[in-house]
Symmetry: C2
Subunit: 454 residues, 2 copies
């Protein structure tokens, strides 16, 4: 292991420089104008994988953004690790809140700043560099396959079909994913649960054009007011989602499970301070850890309608819209939830408006049992580099494709993430600690060794 670690440590600065090249490509999957950047980023990563030691790497077309696939077969009889990551990133707005340019990465205060620094270019790149270190030192104990997609932030639409069509190519013993966080550098953790997601868009339409709010105000339903009422109706005063049937399939934790979950270090005062909020808010009867880990939620991700520029305009807007997503827990079905949402939203809309409800994307919740050999290997690897046994952790986030891997490929995923909540993924000023990046690269080879030995 010494040789691998020496290689990693002696290439520390070069690895950061190489990551910067990836971060400079604005591969925002949600915005069609970046279609060319997606291909450019995929090609860049394929080349990086060959340089790192892959037998071959390919940019494989899909109906959407391409998938980067690479592999190195050391021994057909050895175990095979499939590394999954994504090279697409979130949009950057509100851009004016970024301290430095989102696609001109910099190191400041011991951290890498830029869109994708953590999610998931930084974390995916750790795997490429750990792989390079193992290849360069002749210490790769497993076969390795890489599958890096370009649509994770928009629902991995093309990857489902890709997996169904490429089952043989993707054959593996475990899928290794670094797209999650730890509790802290002092309290390492491994994510053993992810929430699912149902993402909807609604539009409320009233008159066929914006109306003068003086001439018509009070007599014509205002779509923005109606939308506010409809959105407000989706959650009650107790923080519970009001959609009939929403909680029907939710697995309720036992008292023992709840106690175990609440043992993870958590200080409400620190949490509130770190977010600059006066108070937390959520479903009555549950702790913050439970609310994000094992309870479903409903959030408006965006809302818009009418005049939103400087100054005043006295109109009744013709329409108003919202993007609304729900995080789901075992055993909620994201398709069923989408249907329940649509039915309820239509049912509560008044006759004075028309409503349009669209399903944008979704994914199932995921659970990674802690008694899995691969989970044990990950646990030992983290303990080797962090000096502490990691806690199992229920994350509130979603990686919809992970549950699909199990369904389609029949392979479990290990969520070995090195993010921290301070990384501000999806927000302006995303960052990734140099220590996280370094520790991540060092931990991965331990995983391969322990996993090969099991």
């Amino acid at each position: 292991m010494e040789k691998v670690l020496d290689y990693i440590r002696s290439h520390r600065d070069a690895f950061v420089e190489e990551l910067f090249e990836v971060l400079r490509i604005p591969s925002i999957s949600a915005q069609t104008e970046h279609r060319g950047d997606m291909v450019r980023c995929a090609e860049h990563l394929a080349a990086a994988l060959v340089k790192a030691g892959a037998d071959h790497a390919e940019v494989m077309p899909t109906e959407g953004n391409p998938v980067v696939f690479a592999e190195k077969i050391v021994d057909p009889k050895a175990k095979t690790v499939l590394v999954y990551g994504h090279y697409d990133v979130m949009p950057v707005d509100p851009r004016e809140e970024w301290t430095t340019e989102p696609f001109e990465p910099v190191v400041r205060d011991g951290r890498i700043w830029g869109r994708g620094a953590d999610d998931d270019k930084g974390q995916s790149f750790m795997h490429i560099k750990a792989f390079e270190a193992m290849c360069a030192t002749g210490q790769l104990p497993c076969n390795v396959k890489f599958m890096l997609e370009g649509e994770e932030e928009i629902g991995s639409q093309s990857l489902y079909k890709f997996c169904r069509e490429q089952k043989r190519l993707l054959k593996s013993d475990v899928i290794l994913v670094s797209d999650t966080s730890m509790i802290s550098m002092d309290t390492p953790s491994i994510t053993c649960g992810l929430r699912g997601l149902t993402y909807m868009q609604v539009e409320v339409t009233g008159p066929d054009k914006d109306l003068h709010s003086g001439l018509f105000g009070g007599a014509v339903a205002n779509p923005a007011n109606v939308l506010a009422r409809l959105v407000a109706s989706l959650v009650d005063d107790e923080g519970r989602v009001t959609i009939p049937g929403f909680y029907d399939d939710v697995r309720e934790l036992s008292a023992a499970e709840r106690r175990a979950l609440n043992k993870a270090p958590f200080r409400l005062a620190d949490y509130k301070r770190s977010l600059h909020i006066g108070d937390v808010a959520g479903e009555a009867g549950y702790t913050t850890m439970e609310r994000t880990g094992v309870r479903p939620s409903l959030d408006v991700n965006g809302i818009w309608g009418g005049y939103i520029e400087e100054g005043t305009k006295t109109i009744i807007p013709a329409r108003a819209s919202a993007k609304i997503s729900m995080r789901l827990v075992p055993n909620q079905d994201f398709r069923k939830i989408a249907k329940l949402f649509e039915r309820y939203f239509r049912a509560i809309a008044p006759r004075s408006v028309k409503v349009d409800v669209r399903f944008l994307h979704g994914g199932a919740p995921y659970v990674s049992p802690t008694d899995l050999p691969a989970y044990k290997a990950a646990e030992k690897a983290v303990e080797a580099t962090f000096g502490k046994k990691p806690l199992p952790f229920y994350s509130g986030g979603s990686i919809p494709i992970v549950s699909a891997f199990e369904e389609i490929l029949g392979v479990k995923s290990i969520l070995l993430g090195f993010g921290l909540s301070r990384d501000a993924i999806h927000s302006p000023n995303e960052s990734f600690g140099l220590d996280q990046f370094q520790r991540g690269i060092e931990t991965i080879p331990y995983f391969y060794r322990y996993f090969a030995e099991m």
Copy 2:
């Protein structure tokens, strides 16, 4: 009168061409990038007034956009009419909904299409051309003053001070305003009531940055969800505004007044069809005419927060905002309503968010008694050109400065408007009928004659 009418009819096409020159100037007062266009438009109108026959015309600076003032004194002992209008226009968004360019006016289907065609460049320009016709034919029976402002659509902020400082200059016997509508060309009407206005902007702030809705969703108050709840709380299921004290000063009409008001021709089916709405909506117990004419209302004019672009983004937005305005009726005080709004909005906001409430602008309701000599003159003038005695009409709109004229200058205004609801003022595809424009120019000289004789 024949000579005046002949002049008007023989200059019909030229007047439209001259109006087009005014319409081509994008004098949008709400957007600071059009500051230069405001001055350009004012200078253009001052020149047009001199050309029409004014003794002199000036572009008078204010703290905001300039006021165009012009006058012609025919006899110091004659009555003086002060014409008020505004040369600023509403913003044009959503621009993609315009069939032709908003600032490239065209005539199509007997109508003038373009921003400001009616509100209020078209209607103000009728006065300049009627004035020209009376001057050119030696038939001007009153002294005339023009005051055309550039901030009506943003609350006439500078004009209040201008009026207080220029009382002598603005001395007059009546103020004549064409910035309102008629019921129809077959049912002419004169506006005898205007609603007041209180325009607020609210911002709900949660965490100090957008958060990942998976990692935090369910545990942190979402400002967009909270805003929706707060906005929904402002109006109850009966369509009544819930702000405590909101209705305290509302003058309730007598049964006889309500009967008279509901006599004006109105067909609900036509109204719904013209707006493409499935149903009307408003305060329970009142008719559509009452809801817009004599009852106050509350409308969201704009709402925004979070991710509003293409695709999906899974965030809890750091903040969400809304522009909310209330139309007021006698005897509501717009400043008091602003205070009641702010107090209530703050009171109902949960501790998990911060709220900012700002008053953007306001104005008092206005009533023009129908037994006023100037109102009688207007009534006779409309009857002369439309062949029917006009109905008194309560408009739902607001011209805040009109009640201020009474307060500051001690002069009543006559709201002799020639707009129609189909003109789509404040909306995309604003238009003004050539017949409205022509009939307006012809009606105005009759007003001067009857008013001079009274």
